[in-house]
């Protein structure tokens, strides 16, 4: 199986605090990799290091063989890596469709064509398709601020997919979403994975969500990788149980 991403010996230090300590793993094509761990275990920091938001103190990231450590997030995005954030980040003043066009526009054409070309950068069709896929059709022309939290979460995920990425990193996609929306979200993500062959890495606290969605799981605690494997095995790993239940 092809490796989409290789993360090697990532370390991130803030002054005296080591937030991420020598973490290494592979992301295999087509899988849904979950990263779990108690609060403060360094999951989001790890993401930020991989995605260029932070410079890792040490370590490297390779995307299909190409070194991408420390690249700016926009450059990484153009290489096919997308993400969502823990704190919801859609653009409240733009409509649903405009949010999606925005998410895709930098992957079409050049600066010049974006200046002189059509208003929607030719993406209205693609945006509509995405809207249908995520079942937001009745909200196409609503301003994003008018959507419910769960709907905004769906929009957020949809934006991450607009560029047809090879790899999507989702940071706590289930956070704050009610049960019905959760079903919908999990269902759409699974569909993206099987239909479009998108590879995911998901940070999540919601155990049920993670166990049902992910094919493989990594467990982080205090910045270190303490367990790796399929959901059932990891669940029973004594180190994992100890990390969650505390010392």
């Amino acid at each position: 199986m092809k490796t989409v991403m290789e993360v090697r010996n990532i370390k991130k230090q803030f002054g005296g605090i080591v937030a991420v300590d020598d973490v290494s793993f592979d992301v295999r094509e087509g899988e849904i990799l979950g990263i779990i761990g108690p609060n403060g275990s360094g999951k989001s920091t790890l993401f930020n290091c991989i995605l260029g938001q932070l410079q890792p103190t040490a370590g490297d990231v390779h995307l299909e063989g190409r070194k991408v450590t420390g690249l700016r997030p926009c450059d990484l995005n153009k290489l096919g890596v997308s993400r969502t954030f823990q704190l919801l980040q859609v653009f409240p003043q733009l409509t649903v469709r405009e949010n999606l066009v925005l998410a895709g526009q930098e992957h079409q054409g050049t600066m010049l064509t974006r200046l002189f070309g059509p208003r929607d950068a030719g993406l209205s069709g693609a945006a509509d398709k995405m809207i249908d896929f995520f079942r937001l059709g009745h909200l196409t022309d609503e301003k994003a601020s008018g959507l419910s939290y769960g709907q905004q979460k769906l929009l957020d995920a949809a934006m991450a997919f607009m560029a047809g990425p090879r790899l999507v990193l989702l940071d706590e996609p289930a956070g704050g979403v009610n049960l019905t929306m959760l079903q919908s979200l999990r269902d759409r993500l699974k569909a993206m994975n099987t239909e479009e062959g998108a590879t995911f890495v998901v940070i999540e606290h919601n155990m049920e969500f993670v166990m049902a969605l992910c094919t493989r799981i990594l467990v982080l605690a205090e910045g270190k990788l303490i367990a790796e494997g399929d959901p059932a095995t990891v669940r029973q790993n004594p180190k994992v149980i100890e990390a969650y239940l505390g010392h």
Binding site: Q53, L54, Q55, R72
Partner: protein, 292 residues
Amino acid sequence: MADFVQLFISGLATGGIYALTAVGFTLLWQTSQTINFAQGEFVMLPAFFVLIAMGYFGMPFWLALAVAMIVTVIALGVAFKKVIIDPMITHGVLPIVIATIGISIFMKEAVREFYGADAWPFPPLAAATNITIFGAGIAVQSLLVLAISVAAVVLLQIFLSTTRTGRAMQATAQNPYVARLLGVRVERMILYTFMINAALVMIASLLITPIYLAKFTNGELLGLYAFIAAIIGGFNQMRGAIAGGLILGVIDNFTAAYISTQYRLVVPLFFLIVIILFRPQGLLGRVEERTV
């Protein structure tokens, strides 16, 4: 050599005044994201309070000083914060910038209209005598100014790092959200920084006005220098403001003496640009994590 020492010392003296102004400026920025474009005028004004107290109310100098300090802390500290800054604080930096620009204009014009456009003498804190160090004639005035500015800043540092209130203020400056969680009364701490700033500008005013005379335009250049000093030193660190102020004072003095006076401003501005481009955290500042 004698000239050099003289320029250096008097440069440090003016630098001390810049440092005071820059420290207040930095404090306001750190705790409440307030960029006070009127900081220069804040230094210009208290001298006039003293002159009015002495001239119109016939108070002796020391009483006038005390009264002016109280008025300054209330007007430029408490009132400034509650009336002007508080309503705008949730709307980002810009409205405050514009409002403080307006305030600086208002203060300048008010002094010009109600007091006059001339330059008035202001009583110095020491007699105009010289002492000799390394063969150079150093004005006692310069040494006194330097000593007072340093003392003021040192006292402030001590206050901030040893007293409970001071440490609470530091916490507010670093992370208001966490400070609030820890039980720090953030609003009150911010009020204190405004009051401290008022005290600092009052001291700066006392130190600089005898040299430049009391004139309504005093604030213009001083404000700019405070800005530059704060940035060169490191906008997110008080120590930076002090270093920046002293360095700027010395550079400015040497530039005026050895390079043309026409382009006197160029050297500090040049430093500013160089620092921002090559060491944006300033000489002593902390590196801000890259977020873009």
